[in-house]
Symmetry: D2
Amino acid sequence: MPLSPDQIAEIEAARATPRLTLRAVSEGMEAQLYRAQPVLDHGFVRVIDYMGDDAAIVQAARVSYGAGTKHVQNDEGLIRYLMRHWHSTPFEMCEIKLHVKLPVFVARQWIRHRTANVNEYSARYSILDREFYIPAPDQLAAQSTVNNQGRGAVLAGEEAARVLALLKSDAGQMYDHYEAMLSQDGQQGLARELARMNLPMNIYTQWYWKVDLHNLFHFLRLRADAHAQYEIRVYAEAIARLVADWVPLAFHAFEDYRMGGATLSARAIDCVKRMLKGETVTQETSGMSKGEWREFQTLLD
Amino acid sequence: MPLSPDQIAEIEAARATPRLTLRAVSEGMEAQLYRAQPVLDHGFVRVIDYMGDDAAIVQAARVSYGAGTKHVQNDEGLIRYLMRHWHSTPFEMCEIKLHVKLPVFVARQWIRHRTANVNEYSARYSILDREFYIPAPDQLAAQSTVNNQGRGAVLAGEEAARVLALLKSDAGQMYDHYEAMLSQDGQQGLARELARMNLPMNIYTQWYWKVDLHNLFHFLRLRADAHAQYEIRVYAEAIARLVADWVPLAFHAFEDYRMGGATLSARAIDCVKRMLKGETVTQETSGMSKGEWREFQTLLD
Amino acid sequence: MPLSPDQIAEIEAARATPRLTLRAVSEGMEAQLYRAQPVLDHGFVRVIDYMGDDAAIVQAARVSYGAGTKHVQNDEGLIRYLMRHWHSTPFEMCEIKLHVKLPVFVARQWIRHRTANVNEYSARYSILDREFYIPAPDQLAAQSTVNNQGRGAVLAGEEAARVLALLKSDAGQMYDHYEAMLSQDGQQGLARELARMNLPMNIYTQWYWKVDLHNLFHFLRLRADAHAQYEIRVYAEAIARLVADWVPLAFHAFEDYRMGGATLSARAIDCVKRMLKGETVTQETSGMSKGEWREFQTLLD
Amino acid sequence: MPLSPDQIAEIEAARATPRLTLRAVSEGMEAQLYRAQPVLDHGFVRVIDYMGDDAAIVQAARVSYGAGTKHVQNDEGLIRYLMRHWHSTPFEMCEIKLHVKLPVFVARQWIRHRTANVNEYSARYSILDREFYIPAPDQLAAQSTVNNQGRGAVLAGEEAARVLALLKSDAGQMYDHYEAMLSQDGQQGLARELARMNLPMNIYTQWYWKVDLHNLFHFLRLRADAHAQYEIRVYAEAIARLVADWVPLAFHAFEDYRMGGATLSARAIDCVKRMLKGETVTQETSGMSKGEWREFQTLLD
């Protein structure tokens, strides 16, 4: 169970007492507020706060473009126009604050997105809980044979059993030793800031993460992508569902232009033009490398 | 009058319809929301949205420090501790979105604070209004004779009258010519993106500006300071009053540790210690340059 | 003449004294170092310093990907792979520092690129020179009739003459008044920080601008684009030529994948697939708005 | 030995072939270039590249302040003035690129400094080496009894021996299991991106880290401070020694105004003034909390 009883009580208390505000309110987000969306075996994502909605994006764009934007007939059209032309500043006018519980090796990828604010639980200051990520059997994948940075088939049989047993017993043993080193029972007890170094990277940590909508879309494009590691992708997908409830117009524009879209090189555009004129283009005549050509074919299949 | 009738109507409509939210609410800020605080002759600052309150800062800090923070007895003590020890990330968990109308030469200073989101009115896209900053007589100051970057005595008599007359007539003439170049009456009309280059830098522009509380404090420390130019300082002071209503505990800590505080060099600390032991320290024996010594004396006077 | 005699002497002195270094050296950039590339009527761009070269990008990528990158046969292939897959961090490992002289209204667009370091000439501290941007006759364009944010035909005849005369006489008059207000001859003299507000936005300023190669590419994609305003585009084009000399492999990958490339939406990709199968797709059957469809047609023409 | 034979050969090759450049050269830094400074048991810091020197800081400041800076008599005086008055942009004009090998738990603290560029070795893509940080006996400290976030006395005797034995045997075992899970000998072999989760946080990683001098000073102020964890502080100290060789004037100003300096609150300044007038101030009459008063006393002792 990812949430402690204290956390559940805190969520229920927070949800029990609506208050009046004059600010922009997103009903879709109010329904989600504070509630934990489970991710992986012990993780979660929950919304702590948000600023703005679809109308706030439009309002900010109209400040920039003045009366000139009035010819765009509706909010959806303007939001799609902004997304298509990479006008990112109106999307920066929305902000979200999430509470996330996640394994350390996922946190290490996530933190590389620098344009965000973070408060992480400090294992220098406090003691981490005994919670580790152990992959579900269908996620216990072999190394890909075609991609250094990817997964192949799911492990089966004895090999899978061996791996799971190792992950579980090592995590348990490391945590036992962590506690043993910290203990002040009959000994001084090692400093927390040192003892933590013995913990494996599948231990769970947690943080508050605050980011604007433009940078969140960038995060989602990279991390909800099929090439992202499964363990961060499930977090990105959970967040994407929240964003769809929060700013539905912006999210649909994002899906069409970013998640479902693709960037073609000058060479690729040239190939498409030649193909539309009836020419049979091959990798040799495309000017592309084998890798580029393979990706190009996948896109148009 | 800084606000257009459309803007006033929009403010009243927005303030007329409170809605329910489960988010953190700052009553002090709700009272201010959307209302324009006049600044200079045609400018204003108004809050469009905010995220978080004093409790949100404490909540974020407790995520970081875990159970360890429980020995701090109250929110005020913890907020003061965080400010004193430059723990900036909990303050980043609050965010504010402002609508500001300001002269272009002020906007040019302001934008140098990079860690913020901005949507500015586009004079490439739309036509600017005929509104210029003309200093009030008590702000028409001479060049400082001691500081390249400062003001001296207020101009008086004929010189003041001459300056005011020039500023007013030049602004009017430039705007007349701007309109004449843009006009499509009997001519093609110059492109907006070109015509704007003829406008002086005291014309007003406007923008939405969104920033987190940590970076806002940094802005206020530099721009509400006595060394800042008057025309940006009055904006910083107006914002400071809003922040005092929004997050009073954090603001008071900021006033004590940043605005009212000072950084002493190693040499200056050494001098204080020697002085407390009864030694008479002079500039010559202080190890400081004349400029440093003068600033040190001012601090302790 | 954009450079002062002092500046020319400084450039010649700096170029006269090569020194030994163990750092990565780009011969293409050494040939450019300190030399001013003229832009517009009084502006320039010149390289003050640079860090890294094409090999430095490859070296940084190999730190990330370890031995795994060895199967990429050469530097060009790896650089193209990184660009194609939006692996931006290796490009961030190169840095350039430019000295730019530019009109204020161009500077106002430029500064919106926040991920850069800037030192601008301070008109609060010092007195600006009497230099203004006056468009060449072939750049004196009418407002576009189809695009709020663009130029139409070039003005001709009397209208062009009228506009040029206004721009020149207004600039001269404003500068005369700037000097008159600052003068301490028989009067106190207005503070510089105030007098500058009377100057028009086509006056030239200058700054040092330092940026990493990834963020510079982002700047070039937006500002060397056909939709950018001509007056900033010529700066971007001058910088692009410098970058081509500095990191030729990275620059060519950028040209192919970014400048010459295009992003297709999910709907657009679907249309391309249908068209390649022989279907005749129209705006009505495309699912795109009129604006999107027009842009899609332009891309494939 | 922290460097591999390949790395040593690469360093010697790079240092063997000086080339001519017209750029600013820091002799102090050239002597250091590429050479690894050992840190902890297997880590190092080495300079890969740098941009600028003390003169470059002065040059950037003179662009900003124009002729007005000429009254500052020398570079050292100007650099001290800039540091004292928090004029940070000229320091941003210098840049350094480091190659760092460090334990993962140190990397997790380090990466929180967001204004920097990073390329880290990818354990998703490649296999990590069998190298772990094991504290030296004099760094095996107990948990502080007064500070949640600190160390107390050094552990001794059997407790120390127990801790060291656990750290060593756990690291070895985890690495054995990492290899066993990855092995493709008679089995498929677990994906690298999964196997890495079983590694403890004292394993070494490495990265290229590029940062400007202003942000580096901020890093050093926090991480070379006595309150920083020892394991990151030794890296900060090694970097500080490099910076002292690179930009000696800036570094000495930094030492005086930042490292050796202190920020006093408004209350603290008031207390100093009262004490200098002969008043005996106690915690009760100071207006400070117990914690503040203790820090204040420590500063003036």
